[in-house]
């Protein structure tokens, strides 16, 4: 399905804003064509395409807010959705944390669209499935995977003259390959904006190699070990920690970034000096839309610089209350690193454990960001710079805050999506860490 042009969308948004009799009105129109193909046991199991657009309207009378959505665009339908939002606002209790709509902004466009990804066809998806399944069948391995792709737009206008429009694309691929006897399992993932930089036939070889190499795993006593976390393994832990960079949570005393006696740890050395976390909507490898969910412009900012807390995320309400400036909430997470690949890090390791992927990560204690989870789909023992043998999977209980104080070396950051190919994009390096805590063994393959 083709979407309306930007001019058509803008006309709808301005019409909606003009229709509203409320003190203020914001209209946002978004649309996406999402395609996917799923396969398991070397067979395609489901494949689908969903295409839809939606108009959301939010109005305010004083501090009373109402919102409504619709997916029809006739004048009568637009009138209906505006009136519904207004009716709901009049009935709503006052929101003491209400902040007026963002005034006119200048957004610098970021390069979030790829024509190749937007043009993906059912045949393309079928080929990704066959490029994954074919080589596995030939080597008596079993593939189960999922490809999802998205071609989307988002646009908004408000009664204070603010307006924005941008298109974006994304492709996310994961594949688990298992040996026929179920004793070996490997995995590969790829998240790209431009599908021309994705090649399932190449990627599948990584999962196949790990599946075959991980059979005959040996048990190693749980304990503290030097580990090399591949970017996917590290990303799972780091994203949990980033939830605590909310200023309000820290100021309220319920974050590892809260300070004893009150206040937050802004400016304090919390991590190894090599740790840098930044956000930049225009990053060429992981660009995101240049405004946040409240239409504040995103900026290039450091959350952690040289291991010190450089910034916390302030909502507009909390910034106003604390006398701070509210900037757009980050849309991506960029961790800096070095130039080495995972393989390079392995070569420089005397003894250690290589972890392909971490799984089922849950918060154990928010006070210290202690997380538990498991290794999966390829855990290997390293000796004298070489992978010696596969290991049985471990359960870990580790805090990313402690982990990022035990850094031996960081490698070259790699683009990552989240588990479902949704949410923010990240650049995360492979990392060699000392004293990573494994607390038990798992028999799972």
């Amino acid at each position: 399905m083709s979407f309306p042009t930007e001019a058509e969308i803008k006309a709808i948004l301005l019409k909606v804003v003009a229709m509203s009799k409320a003190d203020e009105c914001t209209a946002q129109m978004s649309g996406a064509t999402d395609g996917n193909i799923r396969f398991a046991l070397n067979n395609v199991s489901t494949s689908g395409i969903v295409s839809d657009t939606e108009l959301a309207v939010q109005v305010a009378f004083g501090k009373r807010v109402g919102s409504a959505t619709i997916n029809e665009y006739s004048d009568a339908a637009l009138e209906r959705v505006v009136r519904r939002a207004e009716d709901l606002a009049k009935l709503a209790p006052e929101n003491p944390e209400f902040v007026p709509a963002v005034g006119k902004q200048t957004y610098r466009a970021s390069n979030t669209f790829s024509a190749a990804t937007a043009a993906i066809t059912p045949e393309y998806r079928a080929k990704v499935a066959s490029d994954s399944i074919g080589p596995c069948k030939a080597e008596k391995l079993i593939a189960a995977g999922f490809l999802s792709d998205s071609n989307a737009f988002v646009a908004f206008a408000n009664s204070r003259g603010n307006y924005g429009y941008q298109t974006s694309t994304m492709l996310d691929y994961t594949c688990t390959v298992r040996t026929e006897d179920g004793r070996g399992s490997g995995w590969v993932a790829s998240n790209v904006q431009d599908s021309t930089s994705f090649n399932a036939a190449n990627d599948i070889r990584t999962a196949m190699r790990k599946a075959s190499a991980s059979a005959d795993a040996r048990a190693l006593e749980p304990g503290k070990y030097t580990v090399i976390l591949e970017p996917a393994a590290a990303a799972g832990l780091i994203t949990f920690m980033m939830r605590f960079f909310d200023a309000r949570q820290a100021d309220e005393g319920r974050s590892f970034l809260s300070k004893k006696g009150g206040g937050n740890k802004l400016g304090e050395q919390v991590f190894d000096p090599r740790v840098n976390f930044s956000s930049d909507p225009w990053n060429p490898e992981a660009p995101v839309v240049p405004w946040d969910e409240n239409w504040l412009p995103r900026e290039k900012t450091f959350l952690v610089e040289g291991g010190k807390i450089a910034n916390l995320n302030y909502s507009r309400f909390w910034a106003q209350k604390q006398g701070k400036r509210a900037a757009g909430q980050p849309g991506n997470l960029l961790m800096s690193g070095g130039t080495k690949t995972t393989a390079d890090l392995v070569r420089s390791t005397e003894k250690g454990i290589l972890v392909t992927r971490t799984w089922y990560i849950r918060m154990v204690d928010p006070q210290t960001v202690l997380l538990t989870g498991l290794t999966r789909d390829g855990t290997f023992f390293i000796e004298n710079g070489q992978i010696k043998y596969p290991l049985k999977n471990f359960r870990f209980n580790e805090s990313p805050v402690i982990m990022l104080n035990n850094i031996d070396e960081l490698g070259k950051p790699v683009r990552m999506g989240d588990d479902n190919g949704r949410g923010s994009v990240m650049m995360i390096p492979p990392m060699k860490l000392r004293d990573f805590t494994f607390t038990s063994l798992s028999d799972a393959v």
């Binding site: 199991s45 839809d52 944390e97 005393g253 300070k259 006696g261």
Partner: protein, 544 residues
């Protein structure tokens, strides 16, 4: 709707106006009380069935779904969000040339629904080319025109918003007065109006209601920088607003005075207790790691059952269909054949779609199969899995277990977990009697952190409240407790289960599975149960 979307609505992540499309349209509260005319639903269904068979389908089922949700979200004295949503449409699933095809439309016109049926048939025919074996559907006799409704007393959607807001703000004020620093409380109400029709000759109209009251109470010690939370001890239920009546007769008081709830919840009373218990956590001693006998309250055990029994006994996981996301299962088909000793002889586990008050209670599943209950583990031995119509033949069964579900009209239905529950002990046994025999144990109430591997062997669970048990007596509240298990060893360490008078259910509104991910709601019942010699770790760490 996925957990992530729920978190967005409750303001715990994200924000702004970008309502996830899974919510459908935002509507007025009054519209939550209406239903679609059954004549229109039948007309749409007949149009789809005729179009599909006319296009060459050998089987067709149609789901005309209207999914209504209401959220009332508060913190302290503020209402953060009130949202009413509706998602309505039609999903058509067919078998043509031995393969499945599916298409869905939000357009409730006869022409659009017939077009979706023809599209589903075309997709099935296209899929048939690469299908290695044709779909085998277990027989299911048509039931004609029938209806079913969750046996609710008070329709939550009819309770005025103002009453709901007032109730939550009173709960919050009570918690703050009792010593809480912060409280987040939410009402989450669901009504699924589902009409199912199939070429087997069924026209099934169902009206399903669910309710959930998540709450987090936080206590802070600013001088030490310590913070602790206590979540609600209620359970999401397949009930109406009567669940919040706070009927004292339905409370279950633990031997040490902790108030638990069965099918009636007093949210204010629980919020007050939570404030005190969260504050007590700030100074509670840290557990000494080691082996303990665990006495697990049903408000905790439900999650352990869910993860270590419910999931590994889903047949699609066992077969490998979920290998890339949720994972596979250690409980392989050879273990079923050998009647694997999953647990001790005290362990009897049933799958049950008929339990009143449970989240999974419906009259018919989403492929028109009349629901039932059946044994999964009998006297500790593995005897069955959970399967649906196109899987039954793999187990040599003649009928589906009736546990097929789709989270929306636009999602393809597939095998989802039934309510999977530990049966109460047959001999009379109270919690007090159980505790009296424990020398060195920990009593755990409420669910906490949970994590399990992709084959469901190694798991770790936390909780909300932990109390030491010494020489048959429940002692001080302790902290930093998590236990680690290997599933078969854990269930074989089950040495006692209290009798039916202690039986309660817990549950999840957000059990995720599939790609694209779908969410389902499921309950798990048990009485308090004892597990001997379980490995407990201390989760306290220092950030220096």
């Amino acid at each position: 709707m996925l957990r992530r979307d729920f978190l967005a609505i409750t303001g715990l992540v994200g924000g702004g106006l970008a309502l996830p499309s899974a919510f459908g349209k935002v509507i007025a509260a009054e519209a939550l009380q209406s239903t679609l005319d059954i004549k229109i639903k039948k007309q749409l269904a007949d149009a789809a069935l005729a179009a599909a068979t006319g296009a060459g389908a050998s089987y067709c089922d149609v789901r005309v779904g209207r999914y209504l949700r209401q959220f009332v979200v508060t913190r302290e004295a503020n209402v953060q969000n009130i949202l009413n949503t509706e998602s309505t449409g039609v999903g058509v699933r067919v078998i043509a040339n031995g393969a499945w095809g599916f298409a869905a439309t939000y357009d409730l016109s006869v022409d659009a629904v017939a077009a979706a049926a023809r599209q589903a048939t075309a997709i099935a025919k296209a899929n048939a080319g690469s299908q290695t074996a044709p779909v085998q559907l277990a027989p299911n006799k048509g039931v004609g025109e029938v209806s079913w409704k969750t046996p609710i007393v008070k329709n939550s959607m009819e309770v005025p918003i103002k009453d709901k807001v007032d109730m939550l703000l009173q709960v919050n004020a009570a918690a703050l007065a009792a010593g809480a620093d912060f409280i987040n409380s939410t009402l989450f109400l669901v009504n699924e109006q589902k009409y199912f029709a199939s070429t087997d000759g069924s026209y099934i109209d169902q009206d399903v209601h669910r309710i959930w009251t998540p709450m987090t109470v936080t206590a802070i010690d600013k001088t030490t920088g310590k913070f602790r939370t206590r979540a609600e001890l209620s359970a999401p239920m397949g009930m109406g607003f009567e669940y919040l009546d706070g009927n004292k007769a339905d409370q279950m008081v633990s031997p040490n005075g902790v108030v638990n709830f069965n099918k009636s919840y007093d949210m204010k009373q629980d919020a007050i207790a939570a404030a005190k218990q969260a504050r007590a956590k700030l100074t509670a001693p840290s557990v000494k790691a080691g082996k303990y006998d665990l006495v697990l309250d049903p408000s905790h055990t439900w999650l352990t059952i869910h993860e270590s029994v419910g999931h590994p006994l889903e047949l699609d996981r066992v077969l490998g269909y979920e290998a890339n996301y949720a994972g596979t299962s250690f409980a392989t088909l050879d273990k079923l054949k050998a009647n694997f000793q999953y647990g001790s002889d005290k362990v009897n586990i049933v799958a049950d779609k008929l339990q009143p008050g449970s989240l999974g209670y419906v009259g018919y599943d989403d492929e028109g199969v009349k629901t039932k209950n059946w044994d999964l583990i009998k006297a500790g031995k593995l005897v069955d899995y959970q399967s649906i119509r196109d899987q039954a033949h793999i187990l040599g069964k003649k009928e589906s277990d009736g546990c097929c579900y789709a989270d929306s009209w636009s999602s393809v239905q597939f095998q989802r977990m039934a309510n999977v529950s530990l049966e109460p002990g047959k001999a009379k046994l109270s919690v007090a009697d159980m505790v009296a025999n424990v020398e060195n144990g920990i009593y755990i109430i409420g669910d906490g952190s949970f994590s399990i591997d992709q084959q469901r062997y190694n798991a770790q669970f936390g909780g909300q409240l932990f109390y030491e048990i010494k020489n048959g007596k429940i002692g001080a509240q302790i902290e930093d407790v998590a236990y680690q298990i290997r599933t078969p060893e854990f269930w074989n360490a089950c040495s006692a289960v209290c009798d039916a008078s202690d039986y309660r259910m817990g549950g999840s509104f957000f059990d995720g599975k599939g790609q694209p991910a779908q969410s389902s709601a499921v309950s798990h019942g048990s009485s308090t149960a004892r597990f001997d010699g379980i490995n407990v770790i201390n989760t306290a760490r220092s950030l220096g």
